[in-house]
C-alpha cells in the first residue's frame, strides 16, 4: 500500500472557487446565445467576490497542503487580494469595451479567471514544480487574451510575440529548475533553505546557474530589462483592458514568487544574488524611463512606464530584508490602483477600433471634459510620484528603505529616474490643459461599469496616498510571517 499524502483541501478554497466560476462562465457561454450574454460577466463578478470572502476567512493562517507544495500565509493571501482586485478592475474596464469593440464572449472572462487561478497558485506555491505549473496556467490564457481581437493584425502580432517569448522564458525556467533539482535533490522551498548554507555557491556552483535561469524565466513575465523586448508590442497590440490586466496582475504574480523564492528559499545565498538584482534594477528603471520619453502612443508610453515601475519594485527586492519586501508590496498595491486607473482613462477616451491613441489626441481635453482631464491628471501625478498620491508614498518608502539598508547608489539612481519620468507623465497633462484641441473631436460617453472601475482606482490612488498608515500596517501584517522561520 502506498502511503497517501496529506491533502488539506482547505488551502486551495479560493482557487477552487475561481476555477468553478470559470467553468460556470464557460458553460453559460455555451448555452446562452447572442446579445443575452451580458449576465455572464455577473457570474464572474460573483465568483471573484466569493473568493475574496474565502481569502478573508483564511487570513492569519499559516498552513501547508499537498505534501508541502502549497502554503497559505498572509503573504500569499495579500497577493491573492491584489489579483482579485486586478481581476475586478479588469472586469469593470472590460464590459463596456468588449461591447464597443463587438468582442463580448464568455471565453474572455474564462481566460481572465483561469489566469487568476494560475497567479493564486503561483503566489502560494512552496515548491518549484507547482510554481512552474502556476506560471503556465497564468500565461497561456494571457497569450490568448493578447490575441483576443482576432480581426486585428496588431492583436495577432501581440499574441504571437507574447507566446514565443513566453515559451522561451518557460524553457529557461524549467532548465533552471532541473539544475536546482539536480544539485540539491529537491524542489521544495523549505528543504532548499535547509540544505543551503552561505558557502553553498562555492561548493556547488550549479545552484548559481539554476537560480539565475529561474530568475530569467520569471524576469520575462515581470518584464525586467533586458527581458522586456516583448512588452511594447504586446501592450500596444492587445485590447486595452487586457493591457491593463497585463500590467497589473501577472507582474504582481511574478514578484510574489520572486520575493518568496529569493528572499526566503534562497536567503542563505541572497547576498550573492543581490548584485544581479542591483544590475537588473538599474537597467530596468533607466531603460524603461528613457525610452518612454520618446513615445507618442499613450499605450506604448504606459508600456515603457510599467517596465520602469517594475524597476522600482526590483530595488526593494534587491534590498532583501523584510522592510524592503514591505516597501515593494506597498508599491505594488499603489501601482495596481494608479495603473488600472490610467488604462481606464485610455479606454474611456478611446474610439471604436482604437486607431488613434496618440497623446496629442488628448489636446484641449480640459475644456470639453474637465472631470476626465482632472482624473487622468491624478493618475499621471501618481505614476510620476508627486504627493499627495499613492505613487509618492510608494516611491518614498522604497528609496528610504534602500538608503537605510546601505543601497545609496541604487536609491540615487532611482530618484534620478523618477525625476526623468515626471517629464513624460506631465507631457500628457500639459497636452490636456495647454494644447489646442485635437482635430478629431473626442466624444466621451460615461458608461457606468467603466466609471466604477475608474472611481475605485482613483479612490485607491488617493486613499493610499493620504492615509498610508492603515495600508502599511496591513502589509506589515502580511509580510511578518514570511520571515519568521528564518
Amino acid at each position: 500500500m502506498i502511503s497517501l499524502p496529506i491533502i488539506n483541501f482547505s488551502v486551495i478554497y479560493p482557487e477552487i472557487i475561481i476555477l468553478v466560476t470559470a467553468i460556470a462562465v464557460l458553460i453559460a457561454d455555451l448555452f446562452i446565445k447572442g446579445d443575452r450574454r451580458a449576465p455572464i460577466s455577473l457570474i464572474a463578478l460573483a465568483g471573484i467576490i466569493m473568493a475574496a470572502f474565502a481569502i478573508h476567512a483564511q487570513w492569519g493562517a499559516n498552513v501547508s497542503g499537498f505534501s508541502g507544495a502549497i502554503i497559505v500565509d498572509n503573504y500569499a493571501l495579500l497577493f491573492k487580494y491584489i489579483f482579485l482586485v486586478g481581476a475586478l478592475l479588469t472586469l469593470f474596464l472590460s464590459v463596456w469595451y468588449l461591447q464597443r469593440e463587438e468582442l463580448f464572449s464568455g471565453e474572455y472572462f474564462f481566460f481572465i479567471l483561469i489566469s487568476i487561478v494560475g497567479m493564486m497558485i503561483l503566489s502560494s506555491s512552496n515548491e518549484l514544480i507547482t510554481a512552474f505549473l502556476g506560471l503556465e496556467i497564468m500565461s497561456i490564457p494571457l497569450y490568448l487574451l493578447a490575441g483576443f481581437d482576432k480581426g486585428k493584425l496588431r492583436s495577432n502580432e501581440a499574441a504571437l510575440k507574447y507566446l514565443l517569448m513566453g515559451a522561451f522564458a518557460s524553457g529557461f525556467l524549467i532548465y533552471g529548475i532541473a539544475f536546482i533539482y539536480g544539485s540539491m535533490g529537491t524542489t521544495n522551498f523549505d528543504e532548499i533553505v535547509r540544505a543551503l548554507s552561505s558557502d553553498s555557491l562555492d561548493t556547488d556552483p550549479l545552484i548559481l546557474i539554476g537560480i539565475s535561469m529561474i530568475v530569467i524565466g520569471f524576469a520575462f513575465k515581470t518584464a525586467f530589462v533586458p527581458f522586456h523586448s516583448w512588452v511594447p508590442d504586446v501592450y500596444t497590440g492587445a485590447p486595452t483592458p487586457v493591457t491593463a490586466f497585463f500590467s497589473i496582475a501577472p507582474k504582481a504574480a511574478g514578484f510574489a514568487i520572486l520575493f518568496r523564492l529569493l528572499t526566503v528559499a534562497f536567503s542563505p545565498i541572497f547576498v550573492n544574488l543581490s548584485t544581479m538584482l542591483w544590475v537588473l534594477a538599474v537597467l530596468t528603471m533607466s531603460v524603461g524611463n528613457l525610452i518612454a520619453l520618446t513615445q507618442r502612443n499613450i499605450k506604448r508610453m504606459l508600456a515603457y512606464s510599467s517596465i520602469a515601475h517594475a524597476g522600482y519594485i526590483l530595488v526593494s527586492l534587491a534590498i532583501g530584508t523584510s522592510k524592503g519586501t514591505e516597501a515593494g508590496l506597498f508599491y505594488l498595491l499603489a501601482y495596481t490602483a494608479m495603473n488600472a486607473g490610467a488604462f481606464g482613462m485610455v479606454i474611456l477616451l478611446g474610439h471604436k477600433g482604437e486607431d488613434d491613441l496618440t497623446i496629442s489626441s488628448y489636446g484641449g481635453l480640459s475644456r470639453r471634459h474637465p472631470v476626465a482631464a482632472a482624473t487622468m491628471s491624478l493618475f499621471m501625478f501618481s505614476l510620476a510620484g508627486i504627493p499627495p498620491t499613492a505613487g509618492f508614498i510608494g516611491k518614498f518608502n522604497i528609496f528610504s528603505n534602500a538608503i537605510s539598508a546601505g543601497f545609496i547608489w541604487l536609491a540615487i539612481i532611482g530618484v534620478i529616474n523618477s525625476v526623468i519620468s515626471v517629464y513624460y507623465y506631465l507631457r500628457v497633462i500639459i497636452t490636456m490643459y495647454m494644447k489646442p484641441e485635437a482635430d478629431s473631436v473626442t466624444t466621451v460617453t460615461y458608461p457606468p461599469s467603466l466609471l466604477v472601475a475608474i472611481i475605485l482606482a482613483a479612490w485607491g490612488t488617493l486613499h493610499i496616498g493620504l492615509f498610508p498608515n492603515g495600508w502599511l500596517l496591513f502589509i506589515r501584517e502580511s509580510v511578518v510571517g514570511l520571515y519568521q522561520a528564518l
Binding site: 500500500m1 502506498i2 497517501l4 467553468i23 464557460l26 458553460i27 455555451l30 448555452f31
Partner: protein, 118 residues
C-alpha cells in the same frame, strides 16, 4: 535491464540501414537523365496545373491539436493504471477530478461544433 532492448536495437539498425541502402543503390547503379517532361507528376497525361502544395484549411490543424491535447490526457492514464489498485478510492477520485475537468473541455468542443466538418 537494457539487455532486453537488444532486439529493438537490431530492429532499429535494420530500419536505418535498409532504406539507406535502397536510397543510395539506385543513385550508383541506375542511369538518370531528367528533363521537364519526365519530372512532371504525370509523365504522359494532362500537364499539371499549379502546385501540389496548397494551403490547408485550418480545420485539419484544429483536429490535430485537439488530438494532441487528449493524447496528453491519455498519457497520464498509463502511470495511473500501474498503481491504481494500490491507490484505492483515493486514486479513483483524483483521476475522476482530472477527467471531469477535461470532459468540460470535451463538452466545449462538441457544443462549439469544432469536430463538425462543414
Amino acid at each position: 535491464m537494457l539487455e532486453s532492448f537488444f532486439p529493438i536495437l537490431i530492429l532499429f539498425l535494420l530500419a536505418t540501414i535498409t532504406p539507406a541502402v535502397m536510397l543510395i543503390l539506385p543513385k550508383i547503379l541506375a542511369k538518370r537523365e531528367s528533363d521537364p517532361v519526365k519530372d512532371a507528376p504525370y509523365e504522359c497525361g494532362i500537364p499539371a496545373e499549379g502546385d501540389a502544395r496548397e494551403r490547408f484549411p485550418i480545420k485539419f490543424y484544429l483536429i490535430a491539436i485537439l488530438f494532441l491535447l487528449f493524447d496528453i490526457e491519455a498519457v497520464f492514464l498509463y502511470p495511473w493504471a500501474v498503481i491504481y489498485r494500490k491507490l484505492g478510492v483515493f486514486g479513483l477520485v483524483e483521476m475522476v477530478v482530472f477527467i471531469v475537468i477535461l470532459l468540460i473541455g470535451y463538452l466545449y468542443v462538441i457544443k462549439k461544433g469544432a469536430l463538425r466538418w462543414q
